[in-house]
C-alpha cells in the first residue's frame, strides 16, 4: 500500500529521524534521503534555533511529523494549546500525514513524557477514537496512530492489543503507524505471537512503519532505540510488508546515536525486504468487513 488516504496518497520510501547530532552533516553535506521524520514537540515553539534549522531542512527535504505528547488515549481529550501549536507546525512542514501514539501520558495537565499503555476496553477505544477524530478535524490532515511497546497488562482489559488497535482505528477511520519493533518488544514481554498481531490488523490502514533496535534484559525487553534493528524485527518487517504492501518506513535511533551514515545505512537495509515484497507481487490489501465490539 504505497499510497493510501491515510498517508495522503504519498509514496515516501525509507526515512530516518531528524536528530540534533546529525544537523551539521545534513545541512553541510546535503545527503540524499527519501524523507525525515521530526518529533513535532521539538519544533512547536515560537521561533529560535529549532525553527531556523527546520526551515533549512524543509528547503531540501520532505518531512513528516511524528508526535510524542498528543496522548490520544487521554481521558480529558486533546489539549487545545497543543493542537494550536501543532497546526501551525503542520502548515510550515506541509506534512502529508501526522502520527502519534496509541497511549496516554498526561493527567490534569501534568505530563509523564512517557507512552503509557492503555487498558484494552471498548470504552477506552471509543474515547480514543473520538479524540483522534477531534484532532483530525482540527488539523485537517490524515492521522496515523502508532502501537506502543509495553511492559505491563491490565486486569480490566477486555481484548488483545491488536483487537484494541483495530477497534480504535476502525472507529476513528484513521491510519496505523505500524511499529514492528514495538510489536516484537510487547510480544516478548507479554508472551503473545507477534505474527498473530500483524496478521489480524486491518492492513489497508497501514500508513507508515517504524523499525528500531531494543535492549534485552534478564526478564523483559526495553524499547531503547539505541541499537541496530535485530533480526527477528527485520523478519517481522518483511512479513508486515508482504501483508500491507511497500509502505513508508522509518528507522528510529534516539539514543547512543552513531554517525549519520551508520543510521542511514541501517535504515536502507529495509530495501532488501521491500524488494522481496515487490517480487512477490502480492495484491494490495483491501478493507475487510469486521464485526465491531459493542
Amino acid at each position: 500500500m504505497p499510497a493510501n488516504k491515510f498517508n495522503g496518497y504519498t509514496d515516501y520510501g525509507i526515512g530516518i529521524g531528524l536528530r540534533i547530532p546529525h544537523y551539521d552533516h545534513i545541512l553541510g553535506r546535503k545527503p540524499t534521503v527519501d524523507w525525515f521524520e521530526i518529533i513535532s514537540e521539538n519544533f512547536m515553539v515560537d521561533g529560535g534555533r529549532p525553527l531556523e534549522v527546520l526551515d533549512r531542512i524543509l528547503a531540501q527535504y520532505r518531512v513528516v511529523q511524528h508526535g510524542v505528547a498528543m496522548y490520544f488515549g487521554a481521558a480529558d481529550g486533546p489539549n487545545k494549546e497543543h493542537l494550536r501549536r501543532l497546526k501551525a507546525l503542520t502548515k510550515r512542514t506541509k506534512t502529508p500525514w501526522l502520527s502519534d501514539h496509541l497511549c496516554w501520558g498526561s493527567v490534569d495537565g501534568t505530563y509523564s513524557h512517557d507512552l503509557l499503555p492503555m487498558p484494552y476496553t471498548v470504552a477506552a477505544a471509543k474515547q480514543t477514537a473520538a479524540n483522534i477524530r477531534r484532532v483530525r478535524d482540527y488539523l485537517e490532515i490524515p492521522i496515523a496512530v502508532e502501537n506502543v511497546s509495553s511492559y505491563t497488562e491490565f486486569h480490566v482489559s477486555e481484548m488483545t492489543e491488536w483487537e484494541f488497535l483495530t477497534e480504535v482505528v476502525e472507529r476513528a477511520d484513521c491510519g496505523i503507524l505500524l511499529d514492528v519493533n514495538n510489536i516484537y518488544v510487547s510480544a516478548q514481554n507479554h508472551g503473545f505471537n507477534p505474527y498473530d498481531y500483524i496478521d489480524h490488523i486491518p492492513h489497508h490502514r497501514v500508513a507508515q512503519m517504524h523499525i528500531a533496535g531494543h535492549t534485552k534484559f534478564e526478564k523483559y525487553i526495553l524499547d531503547t532505540h539505541d541499537h541496530p534493528v535485530l533480526d527477528p524485527v527485520w523478519k517481522l518487517y518483511a512479513h508486515a510488508t508482504k501483508l500491507c504492501g511497500v509502505t513508508a518506513t522509518l528507522l528510529e535511533w534516539d539514543d547512543k546515536i552513531p554517525s549519520f551514515d551508520e543510521v542511514h545505512d541501517e535504515a536502507l537495509k529495509a530495501n532488501e525486504y521491500i524488494a522481496q515484497a515487490r517480487a512477490a507481487q502480492i495484491p494490495a490489501p483491501r478493507e475487510a468487513v469486521r464485526p465491531r465490539a459493542r
Binding site: D46, E52, F154
Partner: protein
Amino acid sequence: MWRVVSRPLTDDSRMQRRWTDGRPTSAVAAQIAKPNDRLTSFERLEIYNRMYWFRVLDSLYDDCPGLRAVLGDKKFIRLAEAYLVKYPSASFTLRNLPGRLAKFIRQEPRYTKPHTALCHDLARFEWARVEVFDTASNPVFTANDLLDVPAARQGKLKLALQPYLQLLRLEYPVDDFILAVKQREAELLRGDASNAPTELRRRKDRKTRLPSRGRTHVAVHRLDGKIYFKRLEPEAFRILTALRAGKTLEQALVTGIPRAKKSHADWAARVQGWFRNWMELGWLCRR
C-alpha cells in the same frame, strides 16, 4: 496508575515498598496490573515508575550543569526530585522542565543552603538559555528605520527588544562560573578519552571554584543560531530594561544614566557605542 508511576523512588532507585496508606505497594500494584511468568505486578509497574523518574531527572541533570557543580550530584538529585514532586512537568516538552526551578529554590531554600542565592541565580540563568533558544525573533531595527522617524520625534521613539533577549540582574557572576563549569566538563571528557597520565587526571577531583558574591548584569542572547552571554554595564542594563518596559528612548536614557554622571564628557560616546553594538547584535527590533 499515574500515582504509582509518579511516586518518588527509594534512595536505591526502586519503587517504594509501602503505599501512601501503609499497605504494601505490591497489593496496590496487583489490583492494577497482571503478573506474568517472569515479573510480578509490582515489578511490571516498577519499570514505568523508574522510567518516569530517570527520564525527568536526566533531563534536569543535562539542563542544569551549573547547579550540579555547586550542589554535587547527590544534593542536586534531591533538589530535582523535590522540585518535580511540587512542580511536575506542565508542558508537552521536557525542555520546559526547569521553568519553575528558580521559584522553587526561593520557596524551599533547605535544598540549596548555604548556596541558595547562588543556586537561585544559576536556575534563572540556565532557564534563560532555554528561553533564548526557543523564543521567536522579530525583524531587526535598522538605521533606515531610524531615518523614517523625524529628528524632532526621535526622543519619543519607542524601540522594542527581541523577544528572545534575556536581561538578568544577578547577585553572582554566574556567567563566568558556567563557562568554567563547561570548560571543566570538556576537559574531563577529553581526559576520559585519553590514557595519558597528565595533570588533568588529578584535576578530576577538584570542583570548579564557586564565585564570590558580586552584582552582575548579563544579557543572554542568540546569534546565528548559537547562544551567547554578554556582560552589561549597569547603566546599559537599565536602559535596555526601560526599553523593554515600553519607555521611550528619551525616558530610557533618563532612567539608565544617573543625573550626576550626565556631565561626563564621554557619556554620549559610550551610549552611542552601546546602541551601535546592540544593533549589530540584532537586539533592537521593530515594534
